[in-house]
Amino acid sequence: MRRLRRLLRAATRSILKNRMRSLLTSLGVIIGVAAVIVMVGIGAGAQADVEAQISSLGVNSIIIFPERGHSANVSLAAGTQNKLTLDDARRVEEEATLLSGVSPVVRTNAQIVGGSGNWNTHVYGVSPAYLDIRAWKIASGELFTERDVRVKAKVALLGKTIVDELFDGEDPIGEQIRVGKTPFKVIGTLSEKGQSPWGSDYDDVVLVPVTTGLYRLAGGRYISMINVGARSLDESDAAIEEVTEILRNSHRLQPGEEDGFRIYSQADLMETATETQRVMTLLLGAVAAVSLIVGGIGIMNIMLVSVTERTREIGIRLAVGARSSDVLAQFLTESVVLSLIGGAIGTALAYTVTHILNNVVGMTTVVRPSVVFLAFGFAGAIGVFFGYYPARKAALLNPIDALRHE
């Protein structure tokens, strides 16, 4: 205990005596620690953003696409089994027990004209259940009804971007628009949903009844996909199995035959997106690690430059009777103290920077204690290593050789 106090006192004295060297050494640690914490914080912040975004899209949403590229398989009746129909959607709706809603989706691109201009956009034919499945809200007006679907009503809901582009943000309800050549009546607008994690604009969309979309716009027999919602995230996998079974029956597939359709769940997408973000966090972390290493090299340089002076100093200490272990304990204490101080300042700096990023710049950063410990530990280790290693070499020399060091 007394020995430790003495060592600490000697270390502090030595640090204060060599102010410049101490400052430069801890600067390496400071920059290293701060860079790692901030970089990883930014990465983790972006990840949190994406997660929040994705769950706002309806976490339980499951999408069934027809599989493409199977028409060459002649054993299938003219490739029809690769397509999805309204019938398929109806059977899923009737037979499934684990779903909160089912909506067939017909997707087309069309030029729409109305209000003050025209605009090329996506037109989705859906059933009324679609909005709940996607956790989407009506901003004004109202949703079309099952009756609208039955009679192929020419009514439309507009996304925020369309409202802005065609009506300059004015309320368009009751207005007429043309989708392609077909006139539609606007009965509602959708609340703003923002960008998808992949950068496309969710609000650049027109929703119409699925039958209207299929027969009046797409003019076909096949729908683009079926979008269903699982009752809960936990039941997502079971729901996917159930839907697969229903569709295989509907298509009269024998065991061993391929599905002919593919199923994605929002949970999967979220995993993918999170995975992508994790990779990004890792990349940022790698950049940070590089700055840590650069900081470490800085520390090493300072230590190596002062090694002659240090070696002679160690020679003096050995000559007056210090044991090697005395000198080592002393220099170890000194570099630990320096690294701790540097690490503490670096952490404080990192918190200040992330605070500014969050509150002034408006970014999201998430500082995890584990990262702080990691950065602290790593920078500290570098500082200690390069402070200690040259000292160790010197302490193991003959006193006279250490004194003669040039």
Binding site: R6, A10, I316, A319, V320, G321, A322, R323, D326, P399
Partner: protein, 261 residues
């Protein structure tokens, strides 16, 4: 009287590239307690090498070294360190003080590493050592704030502070002017009078005359060993010596008027 230092056939070889430099080629000699020995000899004759071996700063290539009757050749590094710390004091030609460190802290340094804790109050002992070399008024000065002679006194105080039985000094006056050299010799004479055994290396015959025994080395061997019959007294000589500025100013015609009105 018992011998405090005894060497038998000490050799020291340095390997420089392909060449082997035989710095010591078998040194046998004895020093008894309380002696004051000057080691002389041409440059390169092995004086420093011998001092480093005697000071346990370096190990001989072969031969035996008995310190106070015990053979130190087989000791560990830590035991060597403890011998340097507790039984020997070493004074270097180049002082070797810690930079940016006060005289007091420099002198206290050996006590910091004293594992025996023989000395109760390190600070007081350091102050006392500085008083013994006449530097009581320079405790807080750092080496760059001291003259060469003062720095050498600090170094001597550091060698003293652990109350060693032997002090080894390698050309302690090598960097000092003649007056300051005599000054430093008077410090050594005092210490010797107090019973400390002293070995010092010097090139200057008149410095050697302040000791009691002169050993001469050549080519790594001792070639001469004689007592000093008529030891000079440093303190007395110092009083007789004119101040350096007196010497200089005496030739100046305005000397009277300038210095002592």
């Amino acid at each position: 009287m018992s011998s405090v230092i005894e060497t038998r056939g000490i050799t020291k070889d340095y390997v420089v590239g392909e060449m082997i430099v035989r710095a010591l080629r078998g040194v046998d000699f004895e020093v008894t307690a309380g002696e004051f020995v000057a080691i002389m000899g041409a440059s390169g004759s092995g004086k420093s090498t011998l001092m480093n071996v005697l000071g346990c700063l370096d190990k001989p290539t072969s031969g035996d070294y008995f310190l106070d009757g015990t053979d130190v050749s087989g000791l560990t590094r830590d035991q060597y360190a403890d011998i340097r710390n507790q039984r020997l004091g070493f004074v270097f030609q180049t002082y070797n003080l810690l930079a940016r460190t006060s005289a007091l802290d420099n002198v206290e340094l050996p006590l910091f590493y004293d594992h025996s804790s023989r000395i109760e109050n390190p600070r007081a002992s350091a102050i006392e050592a500085l008083e013994r070399v006449g530097l009581a008024d320079r405790l807080d000065h750092e080496p760059n704030e001291l003259s060469g002679g003062q720095q050498q006194r600090v170094a001597i105080a550091r060698a003293l502070v652990n109350r060693p039985a032997i002090i080894l000094a390698d050309e302690p006056t090598g960097n000092l002017d003649s007056r300051t050299s005599v000054d430093v010799m008077s410090v050594f004479q005092d210490l010797n009078d107090q019973g400390i055994t002293i070995l010092l290396v010097t090139h200057e015959p008149d410095i050697a005359e302040y000791t009691r025994r002169i050993i001469v080395m050549r080519d790594g061997r001792i070639v001469g060993d004689r007592p000093v019959h008529d030891r000079r007294n440093a303190k007395k000589n110092l009083e007789a010596m004119p101040d350096a500025d007196d010497l200089y100013l005496k030739d100046d015609p305005t000397y009277e008027g300038l210095v002592r009105p």
